[in-house]
Amino acid sequence: MIKIEKYLAPVLMALCGIVWAACKQERQPCLTPKTANLRAEFMHKTSDTATVFSDTALPSAIFIALTRSRDTGFVYPLQKSSFSLSLSSDTVFCQWAFRTDTFSYTVFDTLSFYYQKHRQFLSNACGFTYFYTLDSIHTSHKMIDSVHIINSSVTNDVITPNHLQVYIHPDY
């Protein structure tokens, strides 16, 4: 004959513990990217009259976000041809200063982005973010020859095509 009272308390405690652990209301970790970044691919024209373009791995590129409070720079010490840039969610316009490498040249080009922003709910774990639709991009032309918008929709989806192609002068 089993003495049920002997096993009752541990079984009930274990059951309550499992249920309590399963239902504990902690915020779930956010597992999706929270920021919508645009990706720019840098292309190089082999000569002024050339019609052939190739990916250009910038030797040591510098990007500086020209914010209202303070400018923040990012240096990429390794050769890269594709870069991610974030847009300001506070306004519908932002600027990045850009230089192809840290040593050779002291001049910067400025990339000015004009866009529409769309509020997007990600999840209760991640909260809200903004997605963007690029309207236009203005640039200075010290190193940059031209900029083409390939994909105007900037979301947190990282497997979409690059958004920009930036063409660099042959001299750089």
Binding site: K24, E26, T67, S88, S89, F121, G127, F128
Partner: protein, 314 residues
């Protein structure tokens, strides 16, 4: 003779163990019929002996969990009542309803939702009854649930360490609905006369999780369903319920003094009376020598089966 606390302990133990078995991979079998099966053609007449039962209950699991579900992210609560009515052939019409609320109070997201909900469906008992008045049951069931949700204004902050945080608000929505389908199973045991306790485990599947209202902001918690941003949810209820019964004796011949069915002797095909008596009947002691026809009576569920075997078979 067991004392009342021991009886209560026993029933709690049964409920707990049945809960553990329900989630274990090994199958659970109802009472197996160990008698030999008669393979001859039989004529089966079923008559429902269980009568009417309306069971009204309250969920005690959610109020207990409400006490634990408080943290920095806010507070939530849900309350639930249920009713089921015995229909026929071990099917029960089930209706459940309730209300609840949740406060989301994260650093970057703040809002409140409140909702009422209702579920309609049925339960099917999978246990064989010991006798028609045995209402203990292990059941499976199906429900369709609908919730009416009211969401408050929403305040949110998009945190951006580079360009600076941006804040925004969403205005209150008109009430919107969520609806889901659910499969459930559980156990209910009669602790005392007409007083039941039991649990009900549910697997729920949200059907309109991609609607516009959900896209704008998915409620963190929907009372009656669970986490709103999950397309499937699992839940548990523990019910204490009271049963109202009527019409058992007058309609179906239940002997109230013994809780056993009064089965009147049937007439054999040749016009002789079957020599079998049951509690509540006034028939004589059977004459076992002069009866070529056997009336086999088997009341294993809420119905009585009267099997008329062909002549000459025993």
């Amino acid at each position: 003779m067991t004392s009342l606390p021991q009886t209560i302990y026993r029933y709690i133990y049964i409920l707990t163990i049945s809960a553990l078995f329900a989630f274990s991979p090994s199958p659970v079998y109802a009472q197996a019929d160990t008698t030999a099966t008669d393979t001859t053609d039989v004529k089966v007449h079923k008559k429902d002996l269980a009568g009417h039962q309306l069971c009204v209950g309250v969920d005690i699991f959610n109020p207990i969990m409400n006490l634990f579900l408080k943290d920095t992210g806010g507070r939530r609560y849900g309350y639930e009542i249920e009713a089921n009515y015995y229909l026929h052939n071990e099917y029960y019409l089930a209706a459940e309803g309730g209300w609840g609320s949740s406060d989301v109070n994260y650093t970057d997201l703040k809002y409140t939702t409140t909702n009422t909900f209702m579920r309609l469906g049925f339960n099917k008992s999978v246990l064989t009854r010991d006798k028609p008045v045995d209402w203990d049951m292990m059941f499976i069931g199906f429900r369709v649930g609908v919730a009416n949700i009211i969401r408050s204004n929403v305040a949110f902050t998009v945190i951006d360490s580079l360009w600076g945080n941006s804040q925004g608000t969403l205005s209150q929505l008109p009430p919107f609905t969520a609806w889901w389908a659910e499969f459930n199973g559980g156990v209910r045991v009669e602790l005392a006369k007409n007083l039941f306790a039991g649990w009900n485990a549910r697997a729920k599947f949200l059907m309109n999780g991609k609607s516009e209202s959900f896209k704008e902001l998915t409620p963190l918690y929907i009372a009656g369903y669970g986490k709103g941003d999950k397309n499937s949810a699992f839940d548990l209820n523990v019910y204490i319920s009271y049963a109202f019964r009527w019409d058992r004796k007058s309609l179906h011949g239940i002997n109230d003094s013994t809780d056993s069915p009064i089965i009147k002797p049937a007439h054999a095909a040749d016009g002789t009376k079957a020599n079998k008596s049951f509690p509540g009947s006034n028939e004589a002691i059977p004459d076992t020598t002069a009866n070529p026809i056997i009336k086999s009576v088997n009341a294993t569920d809420s119905t009585m089966e009267v099997r008329d075997l062909p002549k000459g078979k025993k």
